[in-house]
């Protein structure tokens, strides 16, 4: 029979099911009557004839069942029946159903929430055209260890002209600015972008147009603005296209509005202007040169080209350029090309995947608990099952029925979990304190729903299979006879194995949480090179609106000095200083290459370059190791004083006294007048990089962070500081006024986030495991009540009983701990990259985690053990 015919027969059977069943019953009935007639014909009495016929006939129910099976369509019908039956069974047992649903909703909800986040941050493609072909490209200087450097406009043009693996390349430089003319001035970010920037990303404007070729050819100040700028600060003015906005008092004509999904280079970028507007006076020699690496770059590779292939080709070109332009490119002879998504998401994906694994483990522990519950319940349901079997249900049928029940349960739990995950995601994102990239892409989509349903189904099979098999393996006869029978050791092995497994899993998570906590504490205790107590930081961009361009430099120097002086004179302030880019806040940090101005030393050092005033080191508590304090002025024409960090001094002048040495700088030569302690500028977890500090008056900077050291609580000075700055320039926007301790805490917010997640999930795992241990022991005590009663009657004392019950429990816990510890030794390795200052097998974290777990397990064991001692001896004599 062809497949088609089979299907049509199947369909017919479903459609005609009622009639079919009726006819089948009639047929069987007829058969029975014929048999009775035959028996009577052989001389039996009518009663005897009926009895014999029925005996011979067997179970009508079973025949019906098997015929339906033979029809091949029974599965679908059975499924509907099974689901109905399952729902009835779950309703009949509300206590079990509530506990199970709660466990499942929590377990699956946690997984759905974490998966939503992983999906949004890691899995969803970037919201740009063919995002898999977008890459970030860096010029690299392997000699000084700079692998992700910027490029100059000239180098980028050469790459673009020569590389065949790229369809397009674009450079950009994002800088802070101030939006003026719209109420209070506000700090915003804007980006100079080169010609192909918008077409490369392929984002269409919400209104108006993107920047076109003629914008890039001329220096007409046209700008594209972000939707959020338009809505927040320009009151969504519908006539904004063609109108002007003021940035630091200078007019830009709005050419278009980009939709919210355009978040490149940063989500905060509010204005994009053509690269042709880059100011010549921002560079030492007027126009930007090949040595001025100030652009970041992106590219679109040709279809089928990998980032590695693109990098190979670009590096070949970089090596060429190093030969043809040795004065600027000698050591910049390599490139780094990474997928744009990788560059945006960074290494957070690894940590997120680990957490996803962690919640997976929690669900497994939950599964073990549910399996144990089901096993216990299966014992209670034996009679029901036995009855079903004796009226004709096969074992397979029972297993299928029980599995359907657990899958229905899991799916219901999954739906609840999906609902719970809505709050779960919000809670996790709130906890993440803005440290996760792309959270705007986190929401429930088809993939999340599919994940949840698939996970729920797998979960249902996982916790339902073993109990279903065991329950169906029941022997109908002995179960129908009833009674307690022998001591309930039946299934004890499986139950014990499940407890051991969940203890082992809990060990993994608790040890993981211990490692993360230890690492976080180590991070908090790092000496960053400065003294963070009682320091207030004031971050801003200096406002110079209305100051003629040729006077801007002096204006900025003076203004910064005025602010520092004003703050220093506030009561409660012991000292004040300023730096252009504050440590740990590195959006606009930049480094340059330096070399001793001596023919005998050829070492080049790429040093983090910052501009400070004389009060900075003292206020921050950065130790001056050698030399003098920084001067406030300097004679014209004399070499500019430079302060080296200890490691920069060591690298530049390994064998000499650094004070008095000269180093080559873009404006000629500088003289080393001081050496200060290393500071962890990039991040608390990162080893300090070589740094060089110049006095702020040699290169006036728009960015300024003023630091004040206070004699009391720095928070008390927030308002006085704000007022002091307002009284000097009421239009001066202030980005933030926060204590240095807060800056430090924010810089490790991501570590705190993952540590807290681990602690929460470790705790949850522990709780679930404790519930599991308790459940199994309590069940054992219930089953052995009679035996315990006998023992007590025979003179066993409290201690003996506790030892008997508790000993069994602690044995399981001990086995679980051993297995879990071995697993943890193997598995915590994946945590290694997330840890700071301790190894992945840190003995303190292991010992602490295990001790805590053992304590909780002990409590979970003692409660049922104690309950066992309360068993009245009389129970031994009582019948069921």
């Amino acid at each position: 029979m062809s497949l088609l015919a089979r299907i049509s027969e199947g369909l017919r059977a479903i459609l005609l099911q009622k009639r079919e069943d009726a006819e089948r019953d009639e047929e069987l009935h007829t058969h029975l009557e014929m048999q009775i007639a035959e028996n009577m014909r052989r001389g039996m009495s009518p009663d005897e004839a009926t009895r014999q016929a029925k005996l011979q006939f067997g179970s009508v129910e079973r025949i019906r069942e098997e015929v339906r099976e033979a029809r091949g369509v029974s599965r679908l019908e059975d499924l509907a029946g099974d689901v109905r039956y399952a729902l009835r069974a779950l309703r009949r047992n509300p206590g079990f159903t509530t506990v199970a649903l709660l466990t499942l909703a929590l377990g699956i909800g946690a997984n759905t929430a974490m998966f939503s986040i992983v999906n949004g941050v890691v899995l969803r493609p970037l919201p740009y055209a063919e995002p898999e072909r977008l890459v970030r490209l860096h010029q690299a200087n392997p000699k000084v260890g700079e692998l992700e450097g910027r490029v100059s406009y000239q180098d980028l043009s050469d790459y673009k002209a020569r590389a065949r693996s790229f369809e397009a390349m674009a450079g950009y430089a994002n800088v802070p600015t101030i939006l003026t003319g719209q109420g209070d001035p506000v700090e915003i970010e804007f980006a100079y972008v080169t010609r192909e920037f918008f077409s490369l990303l392929g984002v269409q404007p919400l209104q108006g147009r993107v920047l076109l070729d003629e914008d890039h050819r001329t220096a007409v100040p046209n700008a594209v603005i972000s939707e959020s700028l338009w809505r927040t600060y320009l009151s969504a003015d519908p006539r904004i296209i063609g109108n002007r906005i003021l940035l630091r008092g200078e007019p830009y004509t709005v050419a278009g509005i980009m939709p919210v999904r355009m978040r490149y280079p940063t989500p905060e970028t509010a204005v994009w202007v053509p690269h042709s507007l880059v100011r010549p006076n921002q560079f030492a020699n007027g126009m930007p040169q090949r040595k001025d690496r100030y652009l970041q770059a992106i590219g679109r590779v040709t279809p089928g080209t990998s980032a590695e292939q693109a990098q190979q080709e670009l590096t070949t070109i970089a090596q060429d350029l190093a030969v043809t332009h040795p004065e600027s490119n000698a050591d910049w002879n390599a490139t780094t090309v990474v997928p744009l998504q990788t560059s945006i998401v960074g290494d957070v994906d690894k940590a997120l995947l680990i957490v996803l694994g962690v919640v997976g483990f929690i669900l497994l522990i939950g599964c073990a608990n549910l399996a144990n519950l089901l096993l216990a319940r299966g014992t209670a349901r034996r009679r029901e099952i036995a009855i079903r079997m004796s009226i004709g249900a096969g074992r397979k049928r029972i297993v299928r029925q029980l599995l359907t029940e657990s899958i229905v349960l899991a799916l219901l739990g999954g739906i609840l979990g999906l609902v719970l995950s809505y709050w779960g995601v919000r809670a996790v994102l709130a906890l993440s304190a803005d440290t996760l990239p792309r959270i705007e892409d986190v929401h429930v989509d088809a993939r999340v729903i599919a994940f949840t349903l698939a996970l729920a189904t797998i979960t249902g099979v996982l916790f339902g299979l073993i109990p279903a098999l065991r329950t169906a393996a029941t022997n109908p006869q002995s179960d129908l006879r009833g009674g307690r029978g022998t001591v309930g050791t039946d299934g004890q092995g499986v139950r014990n194995a499940l407890v051991v497994a969940e203890v082992a899993l809990a060990v993994l998570l608790v040890v993981g949480a211990g490692l993360m906590t230890r690492s976080f504490l180590a991070l908090r205790n790092v000496n960053a090179g400065f003294d963070p107590d009682r320091v207030l930081t004031v971050a801003m961009q200096l406002n110079h609106a209305g100051v003629p361009e040729d006077q801007t430099a002096q204006y900025l120097v003076r203004r910064r000095q005025e602010y520092v002086t004003a703050l220093r004179e506030l009561p409660g302030v012991t000292s004040a200083g300023a730096i252009n880019v504050f440590p740990l806040a590195n959006d606009f940090a930049f480094s340059m290459e330096y070399k001793a101005a001596r023919p005998d030393i050829d070492t080049r050092v790429n040093a983090d370059t910052r501009y400070v005033d004389p009060g900075y080191f003292r206020t921050m508590g950065i130790a001056l190791l050698r030399g003098d304090t920084m001067p406030n002025t300097w004679p014209d024409g004399a070499p500019v004083p430079a302060f080296l960090s200890q490691s920069a001094a060591k690298q530049l002048f390994p064998n000499d006294e650094p004070i008095g040495q000269r180093i080559s700088v873009p404006w000629g030569e500088s003289i080393v007048t001081g050496v200060v302690a290393d500071v962890r500028q990039i991040g608390i977890a990162q080893a300090p990089e070589p740094a060089i500090y110049f006095p702020h008056f040699i290169a006036p900077r728009l960015l300024a962070t003023i630091v004040v050291r206070t004699s009391g609580n720095p928070n008390a000075l927030i308002n006085p500081v704000r007022q002091a700055i307002r009284s000097i320039d009421p239009n001066q926007p202030i980005r933030s006024i926060v204590p240095l301790q807060t800056v430090m805490a924010e810089s490790i917010a991501e570590d705190r986030f993952f540590t807290v997640l681990f602690a929460i999930f470790g705790g949850l795992a522990l709780l679930l495991a404790a519930v599991g241990i308790y459940g199994v022991l309590a069940y054992t005590v219930r089953q052995r009540t009679q035996e315990i009663g006998v023992r007590i009657a025979m003179g066993a004392n409290t201690l003996d009983v506790v030892r008997m019950v508790g000993g069994a429990g602690m044995k399981l816990v001990a086995i679980g701990i051993v297995i879990g510890t071995v697993g943890a030794l193997l598995l915590t390795r994946v945590l290694a990259s997330q840890l700071y200052g301790i190894s992945a097998t840190d003995p303190f974290a292991f010992a602490g985690g295990l001790a805590f777990l053992a304590l909780v397990a002990c409590v979970a064991t003692c409660v049922p053990a104690y309950a066992a001692t309360r068993v009245p001896p009389m129970i031994a004599l009582r019948p069921d």
């Binding site: 047929e27 007829t30 011979q56 091949g72």
Partner: protein
Amino acid sequence: MADQSELLQGTLELLVLKTLSLEPMHGWGISQRIHQMSREVLLVTQGSLYPALQRMKTRGLIRSEWQTTVNNRRARYYMLTKAGEKELAKERSRWERSSSAINWVLAVGGAQ
């Protein structure tokens, strides 16, 4: 119900086909007929007969229709289809081959 030789599924189908090749028959008739033809050795239980009938119907070897018996009772009669006749011929030759093989094996064993 004496102890009954378990009928292999394929064997049962062969017997049903053979029975139905004589004349269309209802379920009880089939089991009776097999019982008689096997000189009361084989007893087909309803539990295996009806599922087998359903399987054969699904495979298109037999079809059924409601008819009236000689005793004026309504019963479902089964009859062979063309495919059923072919199947019978095929199964019979296969049975003969394998049963002669089995007999041969048994004979060899008996000669030991």
